[in-house]
Symmetry: C2
Subunit: 112 residues, 2 copies
């Protein structure tokens, strides 16, 4: 396994962030990582959408979130601990991420 790479703040783009969050599964994953403020291993998020996702698919989704700059993944023993990079992003992107997640949360609650 190669070392996990995270983009520098300068290499993170609005388009990349939006693309990462434009997938229903990925935005839910990111919302959970933000909501539970303890670092989350991938496996904790497997059944997020009701049906269990294949782990290769989940791994790809985490990779997209990571390479977009939304999360940081650090190995802790056998797991990866995933945390939001929102504090880092805020100076560059302002309230964008928060505004997106607020809108998403509203949408989710109104779906019930």
């Amino acid at each position: 396994m190669r070392i996990l790479t995270h983009p520098a703040l300068d290499d993170i783009t609005v388009e990349g962030l939006l693309y990462a969050l434009s997938d229903p599964v990925r935005v839910r994953i990111y919302a959970e990582i933000v909501a539970r403020d303890v670092p989350q291993p991938c496996c904790a998020l497997m059944e997020l959408t009701g049906k269990a996702l294949p782990k290769s698919t989940l791994s790809q989704h985490f990779k997209v979130l990571r390479e977009a700059g939304l999360i940081r993944s650090e190995r802790k023993g056998v797991e990866l601990h995933n945390t939001s990079r929102c504090d880092e992003l805020k100076p560059k992107f302002g309230v964008m991420i928060e505004a997106i997640m607020t809108a998403f949360a509203t949408q989710q609650t109104s779906k019930e």
Copy 2:
């Protein structure tokens, strides 16, 4: 040509909006539509990215923006006039669209 359809506010989703704006060409198109507050025909935006885009490609991009709920397209003679639906979206999505476009504008100006 079929009649152009626009989604009802209820059918517009956060994911759909983010997806539409996650493409570098589409976000530029939308930024121009918002910036020039006169309705824009597609043809006015053909050379947005330096190289002229094929009109079929441009048409698809407008379709994505339209079906996501970001713009409204109305026929005026031989042209389509495209306007932002941001006022309609605001009650449902709060400052999300504005926050995205602000971040995008900042990114564009810092690129020069």
